[in-house]
Amino acid sequence: MEKRFDSAALFLPIMGISLVLMIWTGLSLKVAPDLPSPLRTWYESQNYILNPFFKDGEMNQGILRFAFLSLIRVAKGFLLAIAIGTPLGFLLGLSVNFHRAFDPVIQVLRPISPLAWLPLGLVIFKQSEPAALFTIALCAMWPTVINTAMGVRSIGTEYLNVGRVLKLSPLKKLTKIMIPATLPFMFTGYRLSLGMAWLVIVDAEMLTGSPGLGGFLWQEYNSLVYSHILLSVLAIGLIGFALDRLMSVVERRFKTA
């Protein structure tokens, strides 16, 4: 079979995007007059996009500069999340008793919204930056914890039997068998955790008023520049999408067998 150019693969997404833009325009014209239309959004935001690195004060910077600040914050929170979440997941997967003791706690902590954690973070740390990291890490670590635990629990007995027959030391068993066998699960957890951290960043920056995409969004809402809300929303979506693609490439690299 000859390989043909699949025009539908190009045409259909364009159609989908156009449809959404039309609904957006319709909404701004008929339903919500305060909602800027796509065209107005572009006119009022183009400076942020065309000069993505300008800086004119803390809360007035190019969109990529804001994105960079948010990404740094997310990276810190995410690293904290996996640094705590991975060993925690390992312990949960390894020990039935540990699982029995802490699973109820985790199940209760897991559904708590970042908006609930942040004030607590502020109470504990008295400063907005550590409070933001605390919130990101606490909300983002659960997928890592749960996937790692599941990965450890599903290590094939055949691999463990190899370790038993060879009488591997606990350290060797961990580094040669358990960690490599769990890696694919861990990276699925990392990908989901990163997505979560990116979701939380907006909340964290909104409430702490830190410079970044979320902080900018909230400030522009307060200054009634609604087109910049849309600009931030789109930037958050696109960057989140890019992060997820990036992580799934990494994740696929660790799929063994």
Binding site: R164, V165, L166, I177, P180, A257
Partner: protein
Amino acid sequence: MAYLEIRGVGKSYRRGASGTSAQSGRLAVLCDIDLAIDENEFVCIVGRSGSGKTTLISLIAGLLEPDRGEILLDGKIIEGPGPDRGVVFQNYSLLPWMNVFENVYLAVDAVAPDLAEAEKRERAEHYINLVNLSAAMKKMPRELSGGMRQRVAVARGLAMDPKVLLMDEPFSALDALTRGTLQEELARIWMETQKTVVMITNDIDEAILLADSIYTLTSGPGATLGPAVRVETPHPRSRAQLIDEPGYQGVRRETVNVLMSGRTRGATDSTVEKNYFIERRKH
């Protein structure tokens, strides 16, 4: 005294939740297993699927503990798994995140951690050469065919330099031609290394080709070992040559009879041991 000795070993598993009978709640898999294997002997245990063959090899390996009886290797009761009993698993059990060399090296490093690095590497390479895989040293298991993977598993088992090599249906997942090649290579390797080997199989011809003694496991539950059938044809044997042997059909018939006769419990201690002297035909 025998090198590897199994004395009155029994093993049962807890019956599943679906079991309606409230008698004992346990399902006997193996009963009264007695077996004595000499050093350098090649023993095959033949049994139908579900007869508890894998349970038996796991007991010898120490991966399972017997409910009754004991297993002695070289005069010592075995407790748990250990590198003196190398295992070649049915599903190869290679670590998919390590290449061929690393898989074998892991075994060398585990049993002889004090050797110099170069010596350990040399030993791993030696066993990979022995199974004719030196060209695939850096390949990952997923890049290998089933036959090649099983060769790696054999190399890993041998690299532990165990007192006994335990093989659990090592060739059952392979196609007939590959199986034939590997059987003949195993025979060659066995003659070179002079290991004591216990191999589980469901292929009678494979057993006749390789083994000094063939034991049959009666159908489970509550399987036990039937009488030994000895194959006296000198090694190395070849498949083609065996078919022409006058005694071959006799050994085959006898083994099949024991297999099919169902329960022959108690037959082990009576002296029904059959000896078959297959004279080697002159070519």
